[in-house]
């Protein structure tokens, strides 16, 4: 098992250097590899660029004994997909090169630790660009012994062997860079070292790269046995993670917590994850694909809390998750939330969307099993309307809708089980229509500053005024009849003035004391 203590980049770096110096002088030169692959691209010619407007290009590299194949899936703007492919047949004398590429196929493509990694790069000078390629052979140096002479028999490869290319060729070859990066996720020395030193038997990545300020890319290594990724990249400089196998993962707490450079992740498999606290909290994440946390039975607490650059989130499945506090707290760039699969158990939604200052509307969330909503919709400064919220099981409305300065209409909330009504609508100065059901039902309810600053309640129309009367009188609980202690509501003077003497008298008769600011 590899953990943070076992992982020593310095040692791996030395190993990598030793391997490189041992293998590069051997008969396969970097130029051979680069030249051969360039030959394949040359065979493809201008097919890709001549195929019209392209939406995306998916390259695939395949090697078998005797030939190398590069195929491209070309997705066009109209949605149709073309495939282009080219082969280079390798003479028998170059079987060892084919063997090398087979290793790429079998061990890189299939995400197993490879022994060979090619790393092409370019040096530009005027209109001539020289192709170079590093060849990292890790531990199997004696397996490949092709000679320059035998490679020289490759007709297409020899044309460019030696590495002189035009800019047009470089453009094509840049595709190859993408191929290798997509296959391996290796983008720099650090990721190469991770790749080289990875043990596929690892079951825990807990704290492995915590506070690591060197890591940028996490390559496509075999993580199929990893069950614990707690704090795996916590506070690290990770910027990109390959689509690794996370299907065995059960713990992802703080996995990408406070990774400022991480902008997105591939659709990682969290379907067996049972605990996912603060997975992305305060990270630089901007776009999140759909993620399955359907087996997360404990908590998704703080998952995106403080992700101030988060703009887009795919559908999230929290069907068994009892704690979703701070889920999107302070996601101040978030402009929309795809409705997530709500818990089918009692759950905590404290600070759920707190201070999502760019959300234009409250996302459609079924709150019927939610028991805590303190601060949940606080600071939604662009929201003007909120529909009916099924809050019948909620016990806490503390500051729930506070500082929603533009909120004009809240269709209906149910306070049947709410004990804490403190500052619930504080400073919602535009709120004209507000209907609350079952106010005062809980015997020891608290209601300080519930309506402080709610100056417009009941203004503008009789319908708005009726919502005021309905909330305090028609649909409120009769505390006096139940023998409960009085509950005081403090209203802005203009709101109190919208109630008739008879209405005030009837409200007080139900056990509510009314005061003004």
């Amino acid at each position: 098992m590899m953990n943070k203590e076992d992982y020593t980049p310095e040692e791996l770096r030395e190993t990598a250097e030793a391997i490189r110096s041992a293998t590069l002088p051997k008969s396969i030169t970097p130029e051979m590899v680069g030249g051969t692959l360039l030959g394949i691209l040359s065979l493809l010619g201008g097919k890709a660029s001549g195929s019209g407007a392209l939406e995306s290009v998916l390259p695939r590299l395949t090697a078998r004994s005797g030939f190398i194949k590069l195929s491209l899936d070309l997705t066009k703007a109209d949605g149709t997909v073309d495939n282009e492919s080219a082969f280079v047949n390798l003479p028998a004398a170059t079987d060892s090169l084919a063997g090398l590429m087979t290793n790429v196929q079998n061990k890189v493509v299939n995400s197993l630790p490879p022994t060979i990694v090619t790393e092409p790069y370019f040096v530009a000078s005027g209109d001539v660009v020289t192709l170079k390629s590093k060849l990292h052979n890790k531990g199997a140096g004696d397996s490949y012994s092709a000679t320059t002479a035998s490679l020289g028999s490759l007709p297409t490869a020899t044309e460019t062997q030696g590495g002189v290319m035009t800019r047009a060729q470089v453009k094509k070859l840049s595709l190859l860079d993408k191929v290798l990066f997509e296959l391996t996720g290796i983008g720099d020395e650090c990721s190469l070292e991770i790749y080289a030193g990875w043990n596929p038997e690892i079951t825990s990545m807990s704290n492995m790269f915590q506070d690591n300020k060197t890591i940028k890319y996490f390559p496509k290594v075999d993580t199929s046995k990893v069950t614990d990724a707690t704090c795996a990249f916590d506070k690290s400089s990770l910027a990109e993670i390959a689509h690794i196998d996370t299907s065995a993962l059960t713990k992802a707490d703080f996995m990408f917590n406070r990774c400022p450079n991480l902008k997105t992740i591939p659709p990682l498999d969290f379907s067996n994850c049972t605990s996912a606290v603060c997975v992305f909290e305060q990270s630089g994440i901007e776009v999140v694909p759909a993620l399955d946390f359907s087996k997360c039975t404990t908590t998704g607490w703080g998952m995106f809390g403080g992700c101030r650059k988060l703009r887009k989130v795919g559908r999230l499945d929290f069907s068994k998750c009892a704690r979703l506090e701070n889920l999107f707290m302070e996601c101040s760039s978030l402009e929309a939330v795809v409705p997530f699969v709500e818990p089918k158990v009692a759950w905590n939604g404290k600070c759920l969307f707190m201070d999502c200052a760019k959300l234009p509307a409250v996302p459609e969330v079924d709150l019927s099993l939610c028991t805590q909503l303190q601060h949940a919709f606080q600071g939604l400064v662009l929201v003007t309307n909120i529909g009916v919220l099924s809050t019948g099981n909620c016990t806490n409305f503390h500051c729930s809708f506070r500082f929603d300065y533009k909120l004009e209409r809240l269709e209906c909330v149910d306070a049947a089980k709410v004990r804490y009504l403190n500052s619930t609508f504080e400073e919602d100065s535009a709120l004209k229509y507000l209907k609350i059901l079952n106010l005062g039902t809980v015997q020891n309810a608290e209601a300080s500053n519930t309506f402080r600053g709610v100056t417009s309640w009941g203004a503008g129309s009789e319908e708005n005024r009726q919502s005021l009367v309905d909330s305090l009188l028609t649909y409120s609980f009769d505390r006096a009849a139940a023998g409960y202690a009085p509950l005081a509501f403090q209203l802005e003077p203009e709101v109190l003035a919208r109630l008739t003497d008879e209405e005030i008298a009837a409200i007080t008769a139900k056990g509510f004391t009314l005061t003004s600011y």
């Binding site: 915590q210 606080q378 300080s448 500053n449 006096a480 009837a506 007080t508 009314l514 005061t515």
Partner: protein
């Protein structure tokens, strides 16, 4: 014809004064008001008069407590090192 009669007790603070709860309450639950329409189950004994200066001091306390509470609302997790 149905006739309903309500009796409402209204407390109004004297000039230069405000009303507040007579008993000890949490600072954030303290009401400072010029006028109170008492619930049928409430009593004038539950309220007392304070001067405007006392009211201003209490308001300052309330604001400070509210700010403290607000700052505590946004709590980010700290990983146990």
């Amino acid at each position: 014809m149905e006739t309903t009669q309500y009796t409402t007790t209204v407390l109004t603070a004297a000039e230069g004064h405000k009303l507040t709860q007579a008993g000890e309450v949490d600072i954030l639950a303290r009401t400072i008001t010029p006028k109170a329409f008492l619930a049928a189950t409430d009593s004038p004994d539950n309220w007392r008069e304070i001067t405007d200066a006392e009211a201003d001091a209490l308001r300052a306390e309330i604001e400070a407590a509210a700010e403290r509470e607000q700052s505590q609302a946004k709590v980010y997790a700290e990983v146990d090192e």
